[in-house]
């Protein structure tokens, strides 16, 4: 076992580091309420803008809230938003993509609508949806989920088209299996690996989009400890207490970095073909990552 681990480390150093960061992020997010040293929303004006060290390991913000606790809770908020948004986006997108590929009459209406969504940068789509629905965590999740839908739909569409013509699907059709059975039991399992890779590659974008929107004041409302909102709040204090601006951003960057290198590694491991397709994609097959970066 240790030999396997060691060779894994030697071959995929970055991916292993990424997996470590992702794991740390998920554990922190899940366990946040039990591991925070202070109440993240406890205001104490007399202890405002403390430097890191002492009772407050990472210092305090402009109204004396403990930064470490807020960063930890920020991980929870970030995890909740990105996981639900990408989860919803995947469920809807994969379903739409598979149906569009399987039923020819759905093809044009569904996929053209997806193309239209892809004609807007992700953050613009999210902004629009928030301007219709209003602010709030749930609306933010819906907005980011809708940004993910076309990405998953495109992927599932392509994969389903490929699998649909294979012999085992023909055999299933010949035995009189229902469409739902064929889609769910025969086609879906053969599309799963690239979809899992896609999830790991889209989560960092979802995290950044959520933080960007909160930074713009259109995402998670205060006083919730959210990294982007914390950064917005730190702006006017950056001269006095730069650590208030550095720490949440560092956390955000670390997590995004972790997911990026972990996703790359996962892609190489699960779907070596994808890498080739991406590296040499002609105009028809756009690299998905070019569309996913959020918050430019």
């Amino acid at each position: 076992m240790s030999r396997t681990l060691r060779s894994l480390w030697r071959l995929h150093r970055l991916a292993v580091i990424g997996a470590g960061v992702v794991l740390l992020f998920v554990l922190t997010g899940v366990a946040a309420p039990w591991i925070v040293p202070h109440d993240p929303n406890q205001v104490n004006v007399r202890a405002a803008l403390r430097r890191p060290g002492g009772e407050h390991l990472l210092g305090t913000d402009s109204i004396g809230r403990d930064l470490l606790s807020r960063v930890i809770f920020g991980a929870r908020v970030s995890l909740y938003i990105s996981a639900s948004a990408v989860g919803f986006g995947m469920a809807v997108g994969v379903t739409l993509g598979m149906l569009a590929a399987y039923y020819q009459r759905l093809d044009a209406p569904v996929m053209r609508f997806m193309d239209m969504l892809l004609a807007f940068p992700g953050i613009i789509v999210a902004l629009t949806i928030i301007s219709v629905l209003g602010r709030g965590v749930e609306n933010l999740i819906v907005a980011i989920a809708i940004v993910q839908v076309p990405q998953f739909a495109r992927l599932a569409y392509g994969l389903t088209l490929g699998v649909k013509s294979r012999t085992f699907v023909e055999a299933a059709v010949a035995t009189g299996a229902s469409d739902w059975l064929i889609l769910g039991r025969h086609i879906l399992p053969n599309c799963l690996a690239p979809i899992v890779v896609q999830v790991s590659l889209l989560i960092p974008g979802a995290i950044t989009t959520a933080a960007s929107l909160s930074f713009l004041g259109l995402g998670v409302p205060p006083p919730t400890a959210e990294w982007g909102a914390m950064l917005q709040n730190s702006l006017q204090w950056s001269r006095l207490a730069p650590h208030v601006m550095v720490i949440p951003g560092l956390a955000l960057m670390l997590v995004v970095f972790g997911f990026n290198v972990f996703g790359d590694g996962l892609r190489d491991a699960l779907d070596p073909r994808l890498r080739q397709v991406r590296a040499t994609a002609p105009s028809g097959a756009r690299p998905a990552a070019a569309g996913s970066p959020a918050g430019t």
Partner: protein, 306 residues
């Protein structure tokens, strides 16, 4: 080629029409009364009714949709709710500022990105390659607004070298352009590296080396030419996103562009302005995409237009 170009242009019409339709109907389901929103909360019931008739809000939705299309064709995007100026006037100057920022960013990203990627590929496996790879990974991972804030803190607050907001002089371009460029720069560098590594192992590159072509020419003239084809697509796509997606960068550096306008408009629920901005984004993205497709076909003789 001309036929292909014409067909490609025609193909983007449905996408645009779909975008117009979506932008129109998305704001039909919005909670609240648009007429009330237009006149403000203090207006009397009669005024609200008068405005409703004037804006045509008392007519059925499909009539208004057709009316909306007719107005669009005449280049009329309506009036902004907050400033009462035509949306086209509001958007015009902002869009030029956004284009200026996007062009400087994409130039920066392409030049540095290709250079970084090429050096990494040529020195594959060395320290230089590892450093370039890690720099590229950081560039992909760093949140744009945080990078902007850090730069602002360093160059404006501490060193007092660069102005932190606005777009009046050339010195105002440095930080916003670099922030906006970082992701694309890193992405282009990665793409260039992997693409060049693939090309550099091919026979014709070996032939060039064998006949004694200097290494610099082998890379620049023989390998890069083919390796940059996929990079062209990325550059084009990224440019398209920059035109629409510079929301955060513009907000951080108070750059008076489209993105900032959109954020303000969303904050004030200025629906005609939001719709106008969205349509400009969609149109510019579709146009950029089309140019990229045509350019790709022009650059790669292996693609035949059928």
């Amino acid at each position: 080629m001309a036929i292909y170009a014409a067909r490609r242009m025609l193909a983007s019409v449905p996408i645009l029409l779909l975008a117009v339709t979506a932008v129109f109907f998305a704001f039909q389901v919005i909670p609240g009364d648009p007429a009330q929103l237009f006149v403000g909360p203090d207006a009397s019931q009669e005024t609200v009714e008068a405005v409703r008739r004037e804006l045509g809000l008392d007519r059925p939705v499909y009539v208004r949709y057709l009316e909306y299309l007719r107005r669009l064709l005449r280049g009329n995007l309506g009036l902004s709710i907050t400033t009462r100026l035509p949306v086209t006037v509001e958007l015009g100057s902002r869009f030029i500022n956004t284009i200026k920022l996007a062009v400087s960013s994409i130039v920066l990203a392409t030049v540095i990105g290709v250079l970084l990627g090429t050096v990494a590929a040529v020195k594959q496996g060395t320290m230089v390659d590892h450093v370039a790879t890690v720099v590229a990974l950081m560039g992909i991972s760093i949140p744009v607004f945080w990078l902007g804030l850090l730069m602002m803190y360093l160059f404006s607050v501490q060193l007092r070298l660069l102005p932190s907001a606005g777009n009046d002089t050339w010195r105002h371009y440095f930080m916003p352009a670099l922030s906006l460029a970082t992701f694309s720069l890193a992405f282009i560098a990665r793409m260039t590296r992997s693409s060049l590594l693939e090309v550099i192992r091919q026979d014709y590159v070996r032939t060039a080396r064998a006949k004694g072509v200097p290494e610099l020419f082998v890379v620049a003239r023989h390998a890069l030419r083919n390796a940059l084809l996929p990079v062209v697509i990325i550059v084009g796509l990224r440019f398209g996103y920059m035109l629409g997606g510079a929301v955060v960068t513009e907000e951080v550096f108070a750059w008076p562009g489209m993105g900032r306008l959109l954020v303000t408009a969303v904050g004030q629920r200025d629906i005609p302005l939001i719709q106008g901005a969205l349509l400009v984004f969609a149109a510019s993205f579709v146009v950029v995409n089309m140019v990229v497709d045509l350019l790709y076909g022009y650059l790669d003789p292996q693609i035949r237009y059928q």
